[in-house]
Symmetry: C2
Subunit: 153 residues, 2 copies
Amino acid sequence: MMEERKELKVNAIENGTVIDHIPTNSVFQVIHMLGLNKYENQILFGTNLESKKYGKKGIIKVNNRFFEPADVNKIALIAPTATLIEIKNFKVVEKKDLDIPDTVSKFVKCVNPNCITNHENVVTRFTVVDKKDVKLQCQYCEKTTAQDNFTFN
Amino acid sequence: MMEERKELKVNAIENGTVIDHIPTNSVFQVIHMLGLNKYENQILFGTNLESKKYGKKGIIKVNNRFFEPADVNKIALIAPTATLIEIKNFKVVEKKDLDIPDTVSKFVKCVNPNCITNHENVVTRFTVVDKKDVKLQCQYCEKTTAQDNFTFN
């Protein structure tokens, strides 16, 4: 039991962001998209945790990091049910649900291999055509990229 | 503070394995190698946690899973400092340091693109020539594969 108890104190973060209510199958996608696999500060995560709201959920706690709106939009796209909780001095200072934006540019790649954005130096631009399952329609080639196919620039 | 306190109870696992003292830069390699990114039971992990022994460490707690010797050998190769702690009914039933094996077969790919193991249906076989930095010498082509280059079959 010693070992288990010892870890408890690391669970609360002093300053940083908790990303809660992440769909379980998106936890590693969120981690990689935010580059947390290379982050040098303390991070705690859990997946397949019980959630009253969603059955199962994932959670990520990142020490000493507060996310910019661009990152928050990325999180919304792959984990639309997530809640962002900002913590300062061990206290919750802000709690926000995520809104999926109407348009997305730059960071998602178009699924169409023939799309101009995959061949020339053109920044991707999508219209969000489905906010529930998160589907993005390319403003250049009109092909739809679904969440499962998101790869990030 | 509510939010933070609520999570504490999930930190102790009832039955399963804790992989402690993982080098911080190997945490995600261990997760992917063991297929934990697709595991459907509860998992908790932390990285860049403080460690008296090693400065910084990672930890992975996997519910309802006990690793077979083959998996334990894989863990030893990419996280030689790790300790495996088996938990039943919230109690530590076994605690073991990992030993790097003298030979490795099957699961690591040879770094040499011309090696026969990359072209024909031949199982890889390596001699562990350095146990500190973990280097594997191929028994077919004699090229050395270092830990940074491990890709798994």
